[in-house]
Subunit: 480 residues, 2 copies
């Protein structure tokens, strides 16, 4: 419910006082989501869902450039089928929601509500693929998935989230590995070009890789509080699923082969990343490319002659060049409107009052740093799109500078622990063994290898945990 107050949103928690509470406040007050009555689930409200639709549109364009086609597979997986790939089932079983009753009758083969769809894609591909002529298959699905979670947080961890999952088959390992890396690059571009988020990216360690994958790669964003957020993963699955499901194709050599498989996904977690990378004590801050509303026009003394007309004229001009714009002509005060649209993170505010109108000018304000500019009414169609591009780039550079100050190199567990307590990434050489990562996590109160920085270690380096020779250098961080 909105009330007619001069100032609103006065009650938001400061980001540096209580980051978790600040995050929840922004999610709620920017009207991105609401807690559902279904425990562990959220309602995606129009403004939050609109951000997801921007991400979908951008990703769909990029996927298409790589030959991907969209499909839709069932939202349930029979238990009998789910057990076919052993590592996979072991990885997911504890998080499953299982249906046991259908049409008032007990199901003989209970149905698992889709936690991910490697199984169903593999099962379908077995029917669709029999010759090298049927390859490659580069299919993608937009859907929701269920992971039964005990502790949940909006967009970051929940019992249901929205995502896309690509599942592909190729003739050769080389093509499949290329697809895995191409998609990692697409995801990097979602950060760089859409969300103004720089990622650390690379291969996951054995300990952290996906259940059933040969190799997993991830993009990792750094939040304002110094914690990492895994924001997307791509997997080279080898031929394991194909063999488990009996997928084979008659090759150019007239012999049967198992195709090489990949999968890749990003989710509504990306919305969480945007909030925590760019947000501030006045609320959400959206980069122009992903903002559902890029420019909000606030009339000053909107009853004055010609003000509203001119605001709409400017809005129409901006719409004609593809800008997403809104005129706020509600009966709230300008101050209320400023706070409202700051909370919602609209990248650029345009004010127009009688004096501006007389002078042929508009007052502009950048949301991300509060900078004030003066524009010309005459030139809005040219000036504003250019200014939005500048804001996008500035926000990326600001986030990149923050990230760069938060990467340090360490050589032992004490240094690692101290670095992770300060927040950010610490790069350390070690043996790469899962057991040592467990020890590191315990010692640092939660530090994990986010991804591999270098697949070799400096000459003579030894693992600070087990004392054996180091084999890799990884980015460690505390993570969401």
């Amino acid at each position: 419910m909105k009330e007619n107050k001069t100032v609103k949103n006065e009650s938001i928690t400061s980001r540096d006082v209580d980051f978790a509470q600040w995050y929840t406040d922004v999610c709620r007050k920017a009207e991105l989501m609401d807690y559902s009555s279904v425990k562990g689930f959220i309602d995606y409200l129009p403004y939050g869902y609109a951000i997801w639709e921007q991400i979908q549109a951008f990703a769909n364009r990029k996927f298409k450039e790589h030959g991907a086609e969209n499909v839709y597979l069932p939202c349930v997986i029979p238990s009998s089928l789910f057990g076919k790939e052993k590592e996979h089932i072991e990885g997911f079983a504890p998080e499953c929601l299982v249906a046991t009753i259908g049409g008032n009758k007990k199901l003989e083969d209970p149905l698992i509500i889709r936690p991910t769809s490697e199984i169903l894609f593999s099962d379908m591909y077995k029917r669709l693929v029999s010759s090298y002529r049927d390859l490659p298959k580069i299919y993608n699905q937009w859907c929701s998935v269920i992971r039964w979670e005990k502790t949940t947080r909006p967009f970051l961890r929940g019992s249901e989230f929205l995502w896309q999952e690509g599942h592909c088959l190729f003739e050769t390992e080389e093509e499949a590995r290329k697809n895995t890396m191409d998609m990692l690059e697409v995801y990097d571009s979602i950060g760089r070009d859409l969300l103004a988020i720089p990622f650390v990216k690379g291969k996951k360690t054995e300990h952290e890789k996906f259940a059933g994958a040969v190799a997993t790669y991830s993009i990792e964003a750094l939040m304002h509080d110094g914690k990492a957020l895994q924001s997307g993963t791509t997997h080279y699955l080898g031929t394991g699923f194909a063999e488990a499901f009996g997928i084979s194709y008659l090759g150019r050599d007239n012999k049967l082969h198992a195709p090489h498989q990949t999968s890749w996904g990003v989710s509504t977690r990306l919305i969480g990343a945007v909030i925590m990378v760019h947000g501030d004590d006045n609320g959400l801050v959206l980069p122009p490319e992903v903002a559902p509303i890029q420019v909000v026009i606030v009339p000053i003394r909107q009853q004055a002659e010609g003000i509203l007309e001119k605001c709409h004229e400017i809005a129409d001009k901006l719409k004609s060049v593809g800008i997403r714009v809104k005129v706020d002509e509600t009966d709230h005060t300008p101050g209320w409107k400023f706070a409202e649209w700051e909370m919602k993170g609209v990248p650029l505010r345009l004010e127009l009052g009688p004096r501006d109108l007389a002078e042929g000018k508009v007052a502009l304000s950048k949301r991300y740093n509060g900078e004030k500019l003066v524009g010309s009414i005459e030139d809005v169609e040219a000036e504003i799109p250019a200014l939005l591009k500048v804001i996008q780039e500035e926000m990326y550079q600001k986030a990149l500078a923050f990230l760069q100050t938060k990467i340090v190199d360490v050589e032992n567990l004490e240094e690692l622990k101290a670095a992770l307590e300060k927040g950010g990434y610490a790069r350390m050489a070690y043996c790469g063994e899962p057991e040592c990562e467990d020890a590191i996590k315990a010692f640092t109160n939660g530090g994990t290898a986010r991804c591999i920085y270098k697949e070799e270690a400096p000459e003579g380096s030894i693992c600070p945990v087990c004392g054996k020779p180091s084999k890799i250098v990884a980015y460690f961080a505390k993570a969401y």
Copy 2:
């Protein structure tokens, strides 16, 4: 798997020999869908899903014109919540899929996999709405829903289907009823302007209305076999859900009121309607507006100098004016390609061979009636878009003429039975009581009231079942 044959698809069943088998053949051979290993569920393959994406894009534009915003709510509904609206739960209980285990533990409150979301929207609105200032809420959701079905048929009836569901709240009954009718008009436009399908539309009888609705309206398409297909519904729900869920708002009169609710939905059934209204013995026939590929270019003697280059030049020209076009440069013969793209229902085929090239001409073939035309290479950007508009209109007029020949007026049960056996709609006056509709259904072997034609009956007419005065005239038909 595709093989390199001169002719393909020779095995499709004739539409007039076995319509059900013909339908299945088209669904499979046009590669719209595949049967999943999950019993009762289907895989939406890229070509079928692309049709759905066209419908989504069209509908989203229309919904937005009516102020709708997209949201996403949980895919599960707690049993305890589901029971709140009594008629609603009774209507849906027999079709529910129920999850009873989460994270390896028995759930205290089992979760029903969403069959429709009136419940969750009502529950959410209770939290979001408290003042007339919060109204109207015009929210829409794109998702899949589960209805546990015993007999299933691709796109028409399945345990899972894709749809959109709009759920709205208004201050007044008048606004809510207007929204109900506005959305019926949007759905009619999806038929008329996108799918080239004329609908019979109107209010549902008491017997046929939605569980929990005050009034239900539907669009009903007529299939080639003379059976009706309910293709979309809009509901005025009154204040029943609001009262059951305790939604109220402080009105302009400073008193508490229950808001008036609507819901409306169309589903992937629309794909089934397109297949069965327009398809023929060569396969699918798509109207240009909804076709994922509007023009297929088939090179004749594609090895000849300049042919492929010119084909791509034409494709680029067409793309530049927004036409969805594909050049088939596979190594199949032209005959194979013709059959392939006929099966997939591409509305217009463009052929270019050496002689055409020399003469500056292209050969054109309309899919829906096989008509051949000659076009000019020079003018493709102007000619082809205009021709596609003509095809769209011709297909609509053809379907409309078919529909009009299939509506008859009858006055008694024998006439009704005979008319329904021939296929199509029979309009009959009767009392409008559910018991008489049950008797009509039994007597006619399945004829049901599809929607009301007139909410009054001719002077002196009596119900042919019970002998009481007739109150309405309804469209009766056998239906999918």
